[in-house]
């Protein structure tokens, strides 16, 4: 009696799991298949599920519509801001984890508060300032502005990581006469590499996905891929296949990174409120 009942509930559970998976994955399936359709196939009503796929959209967006250079801009910006955030953030995280000083709590609050500031608050003042300084439409302007969210993430995750390293190691090194900088560089930082890796992946994802700063600060030369995708919507004849090809090119790298860091993504999004 118990066995069939249990089997049935297992089947039910499996069905629910499949539904969850479909719910999450179907839009991506639709995105990729649409990107392989010609405009004529894409504009069939009702939409078709079986068709002869073509890579023409990819060729066109990459080499004719300048999505290629936009992707390169995105890579430059995301990699540089991540490197800068790690370079600036890991020593700060080490100090927060290891040193005793006044105002530590306030400093820490301030770092975390950045998670809540909407980019739209900073975008216009930065637009005016970057115009004055001749930084408009440069990678540097975006790299610096992306520090507002990448630096807090690196600091948060690495502080946690440094705390988990046994203090006996530093104490032994200190007795040997090593400086704090040396302890940080040669002992703690190598041990904190998992945290550095996770926070780098998260910084990369968030920078890669950013639209508002990119849209306002980098209209032409430094235009990133998400801002490029938006411009396709501006004509009358909406090229579905090309939009979806661009979207696929934008989304695939972040999804790979997200899967690599899947255990930590939620931690990054909640700034550590959830482990």
């Amino acid at each position: 009696m118990a066995a069939p009942l249990q089997r049935r509930s297992l089947w039910g559970e499996a069905m629910i799991l499949i539904l969850i998976g479909l719910f999450c994955v179907f839009p991506f399936y639709w995105m990729v298949t649409t990107s392989l359709k010609t405009q004529i196939v894409a504009l069939e009503s009702p939409p078709v599920w079986w068709f002869t796929p073509t890579l023409a959209n990819y060729w066109e967006v990459l080499f004719v519509d300048k999505v290629g250079p936009a992707l390169i801009n995105s890579i430059i910006v995301a990699v540089c801001t991540t490197a800068l955030a790690v370079g600036l953030g890991t020593p700060a995280a080490y100090a927060l984890a290891r040193f005793e000083f006044r105002g530590k709590t306030d400093l820490w609050f301030w770092f975390i508060t950045n998670r809540f500031v909407s980019p739209v608050v900073l975008a216009f003042p930065v637009f005016l300032i970057s115009r004055e300084l001749g930084l408009r439409d440069t990678h540097l302007a975006l790299i610096l502005m992306y520090l507002t969210f990448t630096l807090p993430i690196v600091i948060w995750i690495c502080t946690d990581q440094f705390r988990s390293i046994p203090r006996e190691l530093d104490e032994a090194a200190m007795l040997e006469g090593a400086s704090q900088w040396r302890i940080f560089r040669s002992i703690c930082l190598p041990l904190a590499m998992p945290g550095v890796a996770v926070s780098s992946i998260l910084s990369f994802i968030f920078s890669w996905n950013e639209l508002l700063f990119a849209y306002i600060l980098a209209p032409k030369a430094a235009k990133t891929a998400p801002a490029m995708a938006v411009t396709f919507m501006e004509g009358y004849d909406v090229p579905y296949g090309k939009i979806m090809a661009t979207s696929t090119l934008i989304v695939v790298p972040v999804l790979i990174f997200a899967l690599l860091a899947s255990k930590h993504l939620v931690r990054g999004l909640t700034m550590g409120a959830v482990k």
Binding site: P27, P47, L88, F116, V121, L128, L151, P226
Partner: protein, 292 residues
Amino acid sequence: MLTRVSRRTLFAFLGPAIAALAIVGIAPLLYAVWKSLHYFNLTKIAQSRFVGLDNYGAVLTDPVFWQAMGRTALLFAIAVPVQIALGLMIALVLHRPGLTFWKTLARLSLVLPMATTYAVVGLLAQVMLNQKYGVINQMLGWMGVDPINFIGDPTNAFIAVVMWDIWQWTPFVALVLLAGLSTVPPEIEEAAQLETKSNWTVLRHVQLPFLIPSLVAVLILRTADTLKLFDMPFTMTRGGPGSATEFIAVLIERVGNRQFDIGMAAAQSIIMLAITIVLARLYIRVFYREVR
């Protein structure tokens, strides 16, 4: 025992990060406050002048601003309870033992929506929700529903944004709640399951107390992110039709970037920031009480 170090060492470690965040985070903010006290329109630079708190007065009495705030609050009020209800169901299914492989797959697929570029999520909505060519309307057709004009009709466009927000963030809520469920000590959970057959009783009296921190985290993070919400409605509807999906961040972008009234946009964003900071402080109070 934490180490006490000289001021110089401390400064060498913390100085660069503090300086960087001050330059990119605080300096523009101060500049925004300064600009918010001016009439400053990029198309009418000659008329720029100091107007004191006039912009703030105008924003606080501007029905368009409060309608956008109200719309943002309405989105939150509809989407978040649905996300919590669905997310909790998903979390409870994933929390049960058995079918490990399938559960791992489901968990991995849950990671995808929240990592997806928000701008792309909006573009996807355009393609999938189109009245004539959209696959969602095709599916509704299989169930005998007539094609719906999701993007072109004000009410439907709002519903579409709500649906898309639910799609993108339900998995996030599910994973946060799943993490909360794993904090319930297994012995307590097993003992409760021996006592009663009702899953509901176990949820209500045993698991829920452990879920409270996760639920508060969800509520406050969703509040902050709904206030920030720009990319998805912008790429999906540009705030339209009319102003049906003009949420607060989209409104500020329009005033600053498409009407060039930077003084007004600055005042709007400072007011929004004040609201956000109150919420952020609340969040930090609740979660990081034992700050080390």
